[in-house]
Amino acid sequence: MAKKIESLTPEQIAKFPDYVREWTDIGLSTQPADRPAAEEAIRLMYKTAGLQPPVIVWAGSPLGNVLTCAIVKKMFAEVKTGASVGASVSDSVSDSVWASVSNSVWASVWASVRASVGASVSDSVGASVRDSVWASVRASVSDSVWASVRASVRDSVWASVSDSVSDSVSDSVSDSVWASVRASVRASVSDSVWASVWASVRASVRASVGASVGASVRASVRDSVWDSVGASVRASVRDSVWDSVGASAYGQHDANWLAFYRYFHDECGLVAETGKLQGLWQLCRTAGWVLPYEKFCWVSERHNVLNRDERGRLHCTTGPALAYPDGWSIYAWHGVLVPENIIMQPETITAADIAGEPNAEIRRVMLEMFGRERFVDLPECIKVHTDDWGSLYRNDAIRDINGDPYCFVKVLNSTPEPDGTYKDYILRVNPNIKTAYEAVASTFPRIPEFAPAKES
């Protein structure tokens, strides 16, 4: 084995920012997936794990991935158990076909990579070098890609199918997504899944019923399966979706840890040690999330809209912060994921909505989108004190997480607007404060008796 790398040269260290930049850009890319390259990457990934190339099914988003997969799994289950078709047909659908859509192979793909790559890199690189690349490359990419984007996508996938909406998938996702998933399922079923299953179904039907009725059975089987999907998939889809999220590879959102190993591959000559990552590297560069099963692999497009604030958190006040080509969108305000209407129809938010929102973070966003000016103008918001520093308002009707009323101080901005007028600005203050001056001073808590002689 080559000598262990115990330190990096200044030239190697100087390359850190290049990797952070390149892989952050990959993780945040809004370009359409490079489908031929992604499919090649998936086949390579399967080959690395000792698996046969799968049928590849494209979806418009990670949600499309997991819903399409859940629906197809449900269809196979229906066929297998004979819930929707006759016993003669169900008998012919072998367990291995069912296994092909029910057994995720991600664990085996990952195990084959982790065992060799992780150990090889550890053996070849000293701990201090590893730590330094980890801190400089992985952590930096992680902050922008993993923490703010991937986690939001994961949470939103879950939110889209969980809790109150779990009993009705079609209610929980937008019509466009549902239509797209449905179309995609139909297309996928017809083009890839159904083609292979249908062959065995047809063979069995032919054998037991006769070729002459094949065409009509095929149509009724397909329609009855589809009907049963529509009705019965909804209750079971939630758990299936969550399992699928856990069984996914995250494509472009795996950029952080893949950047770490790419650095060693490119800059430290650990080519053989990291060779098994070729498929995952290429996938990361070319597509979104992947849901790998034994014979089928769902792969998602990349997001085509991505808006973030100065701190890299998902943020947009005029539209989705993140969206995928199938229309699935995530709305966020400075990293807080919120329902679409809070961003897109803020005028429909009422004071009662704000008061009734159980999540403190979302409640805060609702207040911002509702408008502080509008909030202090509410009839139940009482002006309790005014002095030269501003006015203090108190709303006892709307309580915060501790049950305390909302209190605000309204201050006149010191710098005129271009038209010569002065804008107010409104800050939330502690409800125990009694005067406007005390309220203004409390916004600079570490300057005793703050009373600026100059303001702008």
Binding site: D309, E310, A360, R364, D388, W389, D400, I401, N402, D404, C407, S414, T415, L427, R428, V429, N430, S442, T443, F444, P445, R446, I447, E449, F450, A451, P452, A453, K454, E455, S456
Partner: protein
């Protein structure tokens, strides 16, 4: 009439407090960006409260506060606020916060 303190100044969400001369030997120096010492970044892209770096030094005083050492008279600038002239000396730099039941939150211009 407001009762004010001549040592206190405010530009938007940045509070400045003139202070006695400090020993900066143990403090962490904050590097300038493109020739300017940035006291705070704004909400809008590219907006910041800043002073020219060749007349000033900026240090981290503690987790919430910075120390600005003004070597020669300088203007504190921001894209949306009138400038404020700072005479030579040491200044504490504080960022405005607002109340939140789960901990104070930074205000951003």
């Amino acid at each position: 009439m407001k009762k004010t303190n001549n040592h206190h100044m405010r530009q938007g969400d940045v509070g400045i407090c003139k202070t006695k001369s400090r020993n900066v030997a143990q403090l962490t120096r904050i590097n300038a960006v493109n020739g300017r010492n940035i006291l705070a970044y704004g909400e809008a892209a590219g907006h910041h409260h800043s002073v020219v770096a060749d007349k000033t030094e900026l240090y981290q005083l503690n987790a919430q506060t910075m120390l600005l050492r003004v070597l020669d008279e300088v203007e504190l600038e921001h894209q949306e606020h009138a400038f404020i002239v700072l005479a030579p000396g040491d200044y504490e730099v504080h960022i405005q916060v607002e109340y939140d039941p789960e901990g104070e939150r930074r205000v951003q211009d």
